[in-house]
């Protein structure tokens, strides 16, 4: 192993992606994307279904070969040094890949053996993780008997078995109830405090805003924007938003004349007023909308504004 392995300074690049491409079946899933993930940060890959998030992530852990570009993890080449790379990362795949033929505890022990971990150490580590994820009471349960939330917790526990420096999470909370989701976020925050580096894909904007230091929004295999959640909100949609339902026809005229950023969705208007009280006042007094919401802008507004509001797939 090279020298970079020993200690990784905070802020050092962990993943370096340059003009990464992925084509299959004549389709370009990832189209020359470039980004860098630094030690200790949580990096988000956001995008609608089919944007290329999972394809990109699979290349990072060497599951799928890349079509073009360059990709280094821990400064190592994924094509030749994939084994070293994989021994230092933990992956939480989108599909449930837990071993249904084994119990909860066996899942952790057997997975540890794939990393070549000695049995005694694996036992200790598995017990720690079961405790950390509050899974102790399920130790002899079969994987098939677990609820969605427990399944995800076990998947994350399994991804941590080798004490990875980099943790890759592909839609970790899809399909979970709010309780399970918040519990998982809590655990992830805890791990972040320990200095782990994360790469996360999600289409829950609330999740991305909570967990990610930096993120990119992908669509059609390309990166649309990159930045911090708050920076992106400020830059693309402003501080606040007025949502208006079935408004006076004069509203359109008013918005166009004043060159106020807005989107229309059927009967609903989304007006990016950026804390401008004058606009707010004018809408309140002049147009008397039947339903009107004044709220702060969120990452979801950025996302929808950039990737469009029409349905995917």
């Amino acid at each position: 192993m090279s020298q970079v392995d020993e200690t990784i300074a905070a802020g050092a690049p962990i993943i370096q992606v340059e003009r990464l491409c992925k084509q299959f079946n004549g389709l370009t899933a990832v189209d020359a994307i470039s980004f860098e993930v630094r030690a200790g940060e949580c990096f988000g890959l956001l995008g609608p279904n089919g944007a290329g998030k999972t394809s990109a992530i699979r290349m990072i852990y060497g599951f799928a070969p890349m079509s073009a570009g360059s990709l280094r993890v821990f400064g190592l080449d994924i094509e030749t040094e994939w084994r070293q790379i994989r021994s230092r990362i933990g992956v939480c795949q989108q599909d449930n890949t837990l071993d249904p033929d084994l119990t909860v505890f066996q899942n952790l022990l057997v997975y540890a053996s794939y990393f070549g971990m000695p049995a005694l150490q694996a036992r200790q580590r598995a017990e720690e993780l079961l405790h950390f994820f509050a899974l102790e009471r399920k130790i002899t349960a079969k994987v098939g008997e677990l609820s969605g939330g427990l399944t995800r917790r076990l998947t994350l526990a399994r991804a941590l078995i080798n004490d990875p420096e980099l943790i890759i999470l592909d839609e970790p909370t899809t399909g979970l109830d709010p309780q399970s989701r918040h519990q998982l976020w809590d655990r992830l925050q805890n791990l972040r405090a320990q200095g782990k580096t994360f790469v996360l894909t999600t289409h829950y904007m609330e999740e991305a805003a909570q967990l990610c230091d930096r993120l990119v929004i992908l669509d059609h295999g390309k990166i649309l924007i990159e930045g911090t959640p708050s920076g992106l909100i400020r830059e693309h949609v402003g501080a606040s938003i007025i949502e208006v339902g079935s408004a006076d026809p004069g509203l359109k005229q008013f918005l166009l004349e004043r060159k106020i950023k807005h989107d229309q969705m059927g009967e609903r208007w989304i007006i990016y007023n950026n804390s401008d009280n004058a606009i707010e006042q004018a809408i309140r007094t002049t147009f008397h909308p039947q339903q009107c919401t004044f709220r702060s802008a969120t990452l979801e507004d950025v996302f929808l504004r950039l990737t469009g509001r029409e349905l995917r797939e």
């Binding site: 852990y61 599951f63 992956v91 890949t97 837990l98 071993d99 057997v110 794939y114 070549g116």
Partner: protein, 261 residues
């Protein structure tokens, strides 16, 4: 095409995973090879003994049950390994996504596939050992030569496990395994000198039988159990080894093509 550099002893961890699962239902796994030979021996031994009087094999007269008993081991080796790397591996690969999970660890695809094939051979050897004990008690095996059946079963298991994995690599859906079973496994089961000597067949059918790996495996189990043989054991052994190497490579290639996208 085949990445030999991707193969290390790490594959044993996947083999061990299968052993853990096997041990959990070991009673079922032991029961079948324990009872199966007994059923066949009783059915064919008692049922056919009276109909088949003067069977000659390797130039000597033999009772029908003595002729058939070693073939039962050969058939069991074939079934145990072939079904392991077809249905069972397919379920792990496609439905359980077990291989996907493994490929997020320092395991290579080649190691996973090799482990599955070696595991199927292990299972075949375990079944052969149990059958050897049962048939030995019936007096159908000469010892110590008969003990060679166990390593032979491992080789036979590798051969049938490899071709099973090849089919898993190319089959579109699990129902389609009926095809190789109907066109390949069943004819072999019947025409590989298993229930009657191949020498009784017309010349063209004899040459076809020579291509069947089961024919060679049965010849070899018969050699081990009876100490006599009609064909050359070395030639049969070489054929099985060659067959194994060919289909091991094809299994690795087709599975890589199937899973690495």
């Amino acid at each position: 095409m085949i990445r030999l550099g991707n193969i290390s002893w790490r594959f044993l961890s996947v083999w061990r995973r299968n052993l853990i699962v096997y041990r959990r239902i070991w009673k079922v796994n032991f029961f079948v090879p324990l009872l199966e030979p007994a059923f066949y021996i009783i059915a064919f031994g008692l049922g056919f003994q009276g109909l088949v009087n003067n069977l000659t094999y390797g130039g000597q007269a033999l009772t029908y049950t003595h002729f058939m008993a070693p073939a039962l081991i050969g058939i069991s080796i074939m079934y145990n390994s072939f079904f392991e790397t077809t249905y069972n591996s397919f379920v792990r690969m496609y439905y359980q996504k077990t291989f996907d999970g493994m490929m997020a660890t320092p395991l290579s695809l080649e190691e996973i596939i090799l482990a599955e094939i070696v595991w199927s051979a292990t299972k075949a050897a375990a079944a052969a050992l149990i059958m050897l004990v049962v048939l030995g008690l019936f007096g159908f095996v000469v010892f110590p030569l008969g003990l060679l059946v166990v390593p032979l079963a491992f080789l036979g298991g590798l051969a049938f496990g490899s071709i099973g994995m090849f089919f898993t690599g190319i089959i579109p859906s699990i129902d389609m395994f009926n095809l190789p079973i109907f066109l390949f496994i069943t004819p072999m089961f019947l025409f590989s000198g298993t229930f009657f000597p191949v020498s009784g067949l017309p010349a063209w059918a004899q040459s076809v039988a020579l291509v069947f790996p089961l024919f060679h495996l049965v010849e070899l189990t018969r050699f081990c159990c009876l100490g006599r043989v009609e064909t050359s054991p070395l030639l049969s052994l070489s054929y099985l080894a060659l067959f194994t190497i060919c289909f091991l490579c094809l299994g690795l290639i087709t599975m890589r093509r199937r899973l690495i996208k």
